[in-house]
Amino acid sequence: MDVRSFPSFNVPKRVNIHVNSYRKDWHWRLLTILILGTIGAGLWVATSKVNYAWRWNRVPQYFVYHHEFVKRAHYDSRVIEIEAIGDSTTVTIRNQFDEVESFVIDSDTLKVFPDENIFAGDLIGSTFKWEIGPLLYGLGVTLWISAISSIIGLIIGLITGLCRLAKNVTLRQLSIIYIEIIRGTPLLVQIFIVYFFFGTVLNIDRMAAGIAALSIFAGAYVAEIIRAGIQSIPKGQMEAARSLGMNTPQAMVHIILPQAFKRTLPPLAGQFISLIKDSSLVSVIAITDLTKAGREVITSTFATFEIWFVVAFLYLTLTSVLSQVIAWVERRLAVSD
């Protein structure tokens, strides 16, 4: 953020105490690298012992690949015109029923000559198109499921957290029961119950069931985070707002929740990062997320080691990006501190 554009904001100086210590503790940093190097070398030796053939070159095609669309003659025909425009070529043929057909192909794949007679099924040429592979598709599904579940989980958690603090006993008890049930049972079991029981009873598809299970799961944890956040705001804030003519809900929305949100951002970030990782469990109900896509790729490549490393790296990328975004939001909100 450009500090000069907000002259009155006194942005707290971030004092980096490590700046001067780089020179002083270089040997410890070297030791870190040595330890990591030793672990890496050990793994390399171990894998070379099991005679595993690493085939990293097989991996990229499962992100994106060049899909070939082959163009063949449908009937016996005669080529009447070949017109090349740049990289693509239009081949016009007249078939046995005296109908004219046109095919657009890439110029370098041209397999016919002008006035050639060709038979049904003969190759004319082909076009290529970039398509996303199963890993990228799975990554997208994981991102989508996590994002939707986070938003719904946040809404459920906010409502439950407020109910948890309500004066009304019923609201309080219901929210406690919900939180205790969800926190006391494994997510994997919850996903099965939501999919097999509620999915059957309410007739919802597997994607909806997966998102519902993750949202309900996240909501219980978010509720506790929100409750703690609200309770951490000094009582005087609510009293001050009420003494200035606000009723309790208004004071909650305008004064308490904005402050509580700022305080709960770090634990919420942790919760959403967990949610991204937990979303891998929905692969058990046959949703093609990143984990299931990885399993599918392994069945066709047998590159087990490579694919699981890649899948782990992709999850790590998602979670790192999220934590960076949250850190940025935190810095923006820190202006009033």
Partner: protein, 384 residues
């Protein structure tokens, strides 16, 4: 003061705010025990007492932030006992200021003005910030201001909606001594300029004595005395007030001797005619301020003279405090000490030092008399 001739009989409607028979319990703990107070329009009243005496609870019940177990709160002749705080038209300055940290100063100040149009709100908020001398800080956030500045913002925010009653809960306790001294004067002058009736809770007697028109002294949930600062100092209603305000020498375990004198150790002492109770038989304690005790000279009559031995002399700048131990007539020391404030010059002239024996004179008009039963009977004093 007890049973003082009423200058003007105030009916309940003459009070701007009145609390009647207020009792508040937290479980088994009684925070307020049948408290009655009436505050006149435009008056600055301070509630003073030690920690846990119920003073903040009293303020919170008046504000409507706490619900009393019994009794009622009246503002301008209306019973507001069951009204929520938003309906009582109060400005409150909290001990922690309770500024909203997520919005800037000007928005903090105009927070209570939502029924006005946006330009009018801003204008009013600016006006209030000018009143407290912070108009140049409008766009900052609370955390960027010093404690004293935050305090003034809290005051501006409380005053912006033009409240009929201003409540201050230990407003200066978090500030350092110099800022506190300056803000005392500022708050008082703003209060006088606006003429807003004000109730301030404090545990600092200097703050109460210098700022308030009248002071409510409380202890253990009970009203001890409700009077102006001079009366509290010069004519405390009971031993608690006498000991709490300023320094006081107590001569306990006195026995009634005759209509005008009591017996203390083997001395016979005369006191100011006791107020609040008529029978001198009840007198059990005498008291006198250190500045009223004199070193006896030859002109003093023999009555109200105690034999004493100097134990310690403390130089305190403008005065020297001499600690003496009262001696029995026979000359052996008693269990009682008396503090005497003397001019440092007088100490030099009289060549006083420790272990020195001397006679001290307690002028009868400054000797206050108390009975044990008094400390409970002080609750009616506001009716005067």
């Amino acid at each position: 003061m007890n049973k003082k001739a009423p200058k003007k009989s105030l009916t309940s409607t003459d009070y701007f705010i009145e609390v009647r028979h207020l009792t508040k319990k937290f479980g088994a703990f009684t925070a307020l025990d049948n408290v009655n107070i009436g505050v006149k329009p435009g008056e600055f009243v301070s509630i003073l007492g030690p920690s846990g005496c119920g003073k903040t609870t009293l303020l919170r019940v008046i504000a409507g932030l706490e619900q009393q177990n019994s009794g009622s709160v009246w503002i301008q002749g209306n019973d507001v006992s069951r009204e929520p705080v938003a309906n009582r038209q109060l400005g409150i300055v909290f001990q922690s200021y309770a500024l909203f940290p997520n919005i800037n100063i000007i928005n903090n100040v105009q927070y209570g003005l939502r029924q006005m149009t946006a330009p009018a709100r801003r204008e009013r908020a600016q006006e209030m910030l000018e009143l407290v001398g912070l108009s140049d800080q409008a766009d900052k956030y609370p955390a960027q201001l010093s404690g004293g500045q935050q305090q003034r913002v809290a005051l501006a925010r409380a005053l912006a909606p033009n409240p009929s009653l201003l409540l201050l809960d230990e407003p200066l306790s978090a500030l350092d001594a110099r800022v506190r001294a300056r803000l005392r004067g500022e708050i008082r002058s703003i209060q006088e300029k606006l003429g807003v009736t004000t109730i301030m809770v404090t545990h600092d007697q200097e703050e109460a004595l210098t700022m308030a028109d009248r002071i409510v002294v409380m202890d253990q949930g009970q009203l001890m005395q409700f009077a102006d600062p001079q009366q509290l100092y010069g004519a405390p209603a009971n031993t608690f007030v006498a000991g709490f305000i300023g320094t006081m020498n107590f001569l306990p375990d006195c026995r009634h001797q005759d209509t005008t004198t009591v017996r203390f150790l083997d001395y016979s002492l005369e006191s100011r005619p006791p107020e609040g109770f008529s029978a001198p038989e009840q007198i059990t304690t005498l008291a006198i301020r250190p500045e009223h005790v004199r070193i006896a000279d030859d002109q003093d009559r023999s009555s109200n003279i105690l034999r004493a031995r100097i134990e310690q002399i403390e130089f305190r700048g403008s005065v020297s405090r001499v600690m003496v131990r009262v001696l029995h007539l026979a000359g052996h020391p008693s269990a009682h000490q008396i503090e005497i404030d003397l001019q440092p010059k007088a100490v030099d002239q009289l060549q006083l030092d420790a272990r020195h024996d001397l006679d001290i004179y307690l002028p009868p008009k400054h000797v206050l008399a108390f009975s044990d039963s008094l400390s409970l009977g002080a609750g009616q004093s506001h009716a005067a």
